[in-house]
Symmetry: C2
Subunit: 761 residues, 2 copies
């Protein structure tokens, strides 16, 4: 009955309706595919296990035995700048700054069979094809492009675990579907560990691909079904290191041989096509087995109606998007719903329809009572994405914490995930930010599991002495510069994470844990240099490291952020930081400098992941460590500066164009920042129940919560010039300070901002 | 009740008792470990999945990119000639002429840690150790050796799926257990596909090893438990091709790091030991998962009583051996029971205790109502081993046929196994001899499954046109010399196999199938050259190939046998062959020549798998194609020559010494030949219900059949000189011809041979 009532409520809201795809139309997956965004334009459903998307190149990780720096640009497989498409593969990270995946590349061709991809300069030399953006459509859950070389129309859509392809061959000719099992994002010699393929019959193929790489031991199983019987098929094995070939010569294994395995394989399937004939493919994935992949396929897509699957995918998106309905300028709607789309791509579902998944112990587990997720880029996403989920996707976030606990329970290290990656941890970036996500979910009442066990997991993770200097951090209160190149960022992030653990302990009345971790959360003070006012790497003997360069990152004790940005990283205690820094006035000047300074060219040459697009003054929005910094003006009595800076960042860093993202979207963190800030509030310190108020950019927004309540944001006199907030009313009552609480939101109600072009002191 | 009665019957048989290990003591696993036997001396139980045995070397398959011919000698990992032991690994083929396995090599050492094996010339340079046969004991289910380098006593025993190690460290010192995950029999670059290890706690380690090679896609899972906590552990990764190391530097992964994976790994575990302290290890295998390996371990061995496990292993052997009790000279008993031991090593069990196994489709299956087996070296074992099982192990042979049918059902090729190899087919050797095993089991009433489905599987396998010339064979009646280097042996073996299929069809009343295949079974005539009287390769145009050399194998259209041996390969119709060859007299001369000819030296240089030890005249007993030939004298009215030849082969080819086997034991085929011939009869043409009579070498034998009946063989006036048979009585009635029927055996009774030193015409 509840859902019916909810539906009814929706229908009664003036200006809201359930009209099909009212919001999906604002999603432009092409945003972020140019320059730094590292997003992909292909088809996926919310949190789907399949991300079926074109790859414009699959650049090798190494060239001549050396790291190929160019590979960084191809994290998502597709770059808007490119003129050719190599094929369509089934897994992609969204917005990461390091990469993997790109499994099972499929490409349709006609005419003589070409088994090599060819070059971008001469696509006719291989199976890749030229294409034009004029003939390209990228929507939520749907992608279409004309492949110019053979005049083939390619269309893609997806369900949670199945990608669906539809290829229209304009000419009558021999057609081929290439299944490239060697291709992958970030390939290098030794990345493809093994591939196995089984041609079950003339429309069904199953198998798996096993890779090493960013995830050390990763296997993806598949089942592929064709809408039409192939007339023949074959393989080419590019691996030279296989003896015992003698026994295998008993068959001609290159053609029509149904048991195929090796390290570096490509396969092809031949068809005769009439003019405008369509060949469709259902391609299901599983982390567990070929059988499960088949079951996923049969459960999620019956029949061959591509348009129906596309419609369902877009309807799935609409159902998610409609949870947050905004009134804003059209471009802002595009930015906002595309941000929401990007925020709902990952973490990704990592259970089969029967509930099975591969665990961190490489064993098969069954998720009892929850959906297991992977792709946790936690250093990024703990900041705003998971807090955003706590408002708009609390059930999923509860399952994400359940997934983290499963990861912990299966970990021989007894650690919560650092970066959960398809039954692996790639341990990327600093901190142990699972504890932040868990604390935020517990403090906000979202986590329904055993909070005591979760606290134990957090404590055990935080006490893992031989991980990234934790032992020294515990003993000394900081990590010495001799022992780590990222000593300061680690210490600062551990201190914040420890504060999160203390918050759980506080809620559970575990005083011993609270005392230990609240003390540890003060460790940031050990890296603070009063002489310079900056966080600074410290030697084991207690002296600060010499040769300190506040603009550099490398060799300065930080990662993805210099001390200008990182010195503000005490999200759990800005007041104490401000005091340390010499008070509000000094901090105000410092913040102003950060946002307005002129950076020397060498900064860009030296600093990873940074381009001029991602920077405002010296404030790096393209990387995450300073994402909360614009909100710190609230703590020094200059909220109008928070308001103008936030509006400036919203304008400068997010545009409705392919190059619209100023930095890697980082699995939705950049997008979550956008949505929070557009709505006028932001979680400066996840693990607390407070949101700092900023300046909304929407005119109006209604959040439809899972509990059936609705929370509305209204910005009276909203305009591009009226970026300052005169007054804020919560349910008609004046908000005195510069924050609201999570409980204010989940109780439902209205947050009304009165906007102005004048600063309010 | 039945089993109780059976037990009671045993006790009443005069001269038989159930005294512990009465027969086990005759088993000498060391037989065949020198020169050509390719057997292993270590511990295994009947048909066990674990073969825990010392490796004296693990020779690389390639040296400098070239095939290392020396590797052939190391099929079983151990060579009696060697002076050092590298370690003890858990899987070994018994008697094969090609190889694989050698998984999970373990070695105990003391003193400074050595992670490399060192060299045979200087064992102190690594973890390997010198040893002496004086300090070595090899029994059924038990192996013991003193490792001289560090004065460590190593003992091994096993259950079906678990190997148990017991190491006694004489000195108090730091001890190490090396777990070498790179080592394997027949290693080459690229053979180790992947290894994963998880240190669960300070006594338990699990993981898997995945290899390419003779089996293309093979994974073995393990669980290893120590009797004592290790104080520390570590790994060394010898694979140079892993980027992303940056993220992994977050830990010191070389020491005490519990999630280990890579292509080429060795691990070590450190202990402090007191003088004479024992460290024990339980090492369980599974084809399915780490969890299953652990379940296998916990089910099969509780606690740490090594002696009890050893006792149980030897009792398991005793229970099998006692099924066939012989009275013979002591050396013959050693030969006989060692043959029986070797015959009961493979096929090997390939189900976990919970019934799960990995199928040919690389999926997990559950064996419902049967035990799944692998290691079917069918080209060898269809001849005598499976017929032997049909008498003495019918339930197991029924399950072996069930296993073949499961293989068929999981095969994308829709083929019965050629050489079933751990969820793979390595397609080694000629023919499709599964059909012989199936026909023999059906004709003899052993197979309890659906015979109709089995026939369909046989027919489909035999009609697989693109396998090894089958298409041409069907169309032309032979395989042309242009298209195959083994055209004649293939045609001859297909013809015999087709006759087997016809026998099933006959029994099931499937006339269409019978007609087709009985016709195909005559195809041997197409390769018979009346001019020379030999089987000879034929060109596509119907003419025989020129440059014919009857002594050579290579380039002559044969494999593992020249035309002198292969020309007799019409086991299903000796009468027709004799007629073709010009009648009894001519054939008699030809047979005599075969057994007495003098071979030129070049024969040995050219012919694979052959040494002078495995040959009598030109008769090659060390390879299988002529195993039935000595019995053919029965068909030309010279049974006394069968009798004397058989006795001669028994004497010359089987000795109770390490070098006692004249050729590879070939998974028990050589041993099964020995047992049949010792008992006085042999299955010349499996698929028929007849056994040709020879000359028993035992004085007496009693076969205790599964149906509760007993079948006795008695040789009156038996002696080394009395090799001729005067008369044979079956249950007191004179046997007229030179054969008995399977039904004669299973009905129970007594076969009495009256021996003499005079030939009976």
């Amino acid at each position: 009955m509840k859902s019916k009532i909810l539906l009814y409520t929706f229908l009664l809201i003036p200006g809201f309706s359930l009209a099909q795809n009212e919001l999906v139309k604002y999603v432009k997956p092409i945003i972020g595919t140019e320059k730094m965004g590292h997003t992909f334009p292909g088809a996926t459903v919310p949190f789907g296990a399949v991300q079926l998307s074109p790859d414009t190149d699959t650049i090798p990780y190494e060239v001549g035995g050396k790291y190929n720096g160019d590979v960084y640009r191809y994290c998502a497989g597709y770059r808007y700048e490119d003129k050719t498409i190599v094929g369509f593969s089934h897994t992609h990270f969204s917005g990461t700054g390091h990469s993997d995946l790109g499994d099972f590349l499929i490409m349709p061709t006609q005419g003589p069979l070409q088994m090599n991809p060819g070059t971008a300069a001469n696509p006719m030399s291989g199976f890749r094809s030229a294409f034009s953006h004029d003939n390209e459509v990228a929507e939520a859950g749907y992608y279409k492009v004309k492949l110019d070389d053979d005049d083939i129309l390619a269309e893609l859509t997806a369900t949670k675990r199945v990608g669906m392809h539809q290829y229209t061959f304009s000419k009558p000719d021999e057609a081929h579907i290439i299944l490239d099992l060697m291709s992958g994002v970030y390939n290098y010699d030794g990345k493809n560990v093994w591939t196995y393929v089984r041609v079950v019959n003339d429309t069904l193929v199953t198998g798996y691909r096993q890779t090493n790489g960013w995830a050390r031991t990763r296997t993806v199983y598949f089942a592929m079904s064709f809408s039409k019987s192939f007339k023949s098929y074959g393989q080419k094995n590019y691996d030279g290191t296989q003896p015992y070939k003698g026994f295998w010569r008993k068959f001609d294994q290159t053609k029509n041989f149904p048991e195929v395995a090796g390290k570096d394989l490509r396969m092809y399937f031949d068809f005769n096509t009439e003019a405008n004939e369509k060949i469709k493919i259902k391609f299901a994935l599983s982390p567990v087995s070929q059988d499960n992949a088949l079951e996923n396929m049969r459960t999620e897509i019956q029949g061959w109606d591509f348009d129906q699957v596309k419609k369902a995918a877009q309807s799935d998106w609409e159902k998610e998007l409609i949870k947050l309905k905004i009134d804003a300028a059209e471009d802002e709607k595009i930015n906002f719903y595309t941000a929401m789309y990007h925020a709902f791509i990952s973490p990704t579902i990592y259970t089969d329809v029967n509930g099975e998944y591969k665990g961190l112990d490489q064993g098969v587990h069954k998720a009892e009572g929850f959906v297991n997720y992977t792709t946790f880029s936690l250093w990024d996403t703990y900041r705003a994405l998971h807090p955003f989920f706590n408002i708009i996707q609390p059930s999923r976030n509860n399952d994400m914490v359940n997934s983290m606990m499963a990861h912990y329970n299966q970990s021989a290290l007894n650690m919560l995930p650092i970066w959960s990656h398809y039954a692996n941890d790639n341990w990327c970036m600093s901190g142990y930010h699972s504890v932040s996500v868990i604390a935020d979910a517990i403090v906000k009442g979202v986590y329904k599991g055993d909070a005591g066990k979760a606290l134990d997991a957090c404590v055990r993770t935080a006490n893992h002495r031989n991980y990234e200097g934790i032992g020294e951090y515990i003993d000394r209160g900081y990590i010495s510069a001799e022992h780590s190149g990222v000593s300061v960022s680690n210490t600062l992030e551990y201190a914040y994470d420890d504060w999160c653990i203390a918050q759980i302990a506080k809620k559970l009345g575990r005083k011993d844990v609270y005392d230990t971790f609240i003390k540890r959360s003060g460790s940031w003070t050990n890296n603070f240099d009063s002489a310079t006012g900056f966080m600074r790497p410290k030697m084991a003997n207690g002296s600060f490291k010499n040769d300190f360069d506040a603009l550099s990152t490398h060799g300065q004790g930080f990662i993805e952020g210099n001390t200008w940005n990182y010195s503000f990283f005490v999200p759990h205690d800005p007041a104490a930081l401000i005091k340390k820094m010499g008070g509000a006035k000094k901090v105000g000047l410092r913040l102003d400098s950060l946002f307005t300074m002129h950076l020397p060219d060498k900064f860009f040459a030296e600093t990873e992941d940074i381009t001029r697009e991602g920077i405002i003054g010296g404030y790096v929005h393209g990387n995450e460590p300073a994402h909360h910094v614009a909100y710190l003006y609230n703590w020094i009595g200059q909220p109008w500066k928070t308001q103008e800076r936030v509006r400036m960042i919203l304008k400068m860093q997010y545009k409705p164009t392919p190059d619209g993202l100023g930095g890697n979207d980082d699995c939705g963190q950049m997008s979550a920042w956008y949505m929070f800030s557009s709505l006028g509030f932001y979680p400066v310190s996840p693990g607390s129940d407070e949101y700092a108020l900023g300046s909304p950019s929407v005119k109006k927004a209604v959040l439809h919560l899972e509990n059936g309540k609705r929370f509305a944001v209204e910005a009276v006199d909203q305009s591009d010039k009226n970026v300052y907030v005169k007054q804020v009313l919560l349910n008609g009552k004046v908000v005195a300070g510069h924050s609201i609480k999570h409980s204010d939101i989940v109780a439902g109600g209205t947050l009304k901002f009165f906007m102005s072009n004048k600063k309010r002191q």
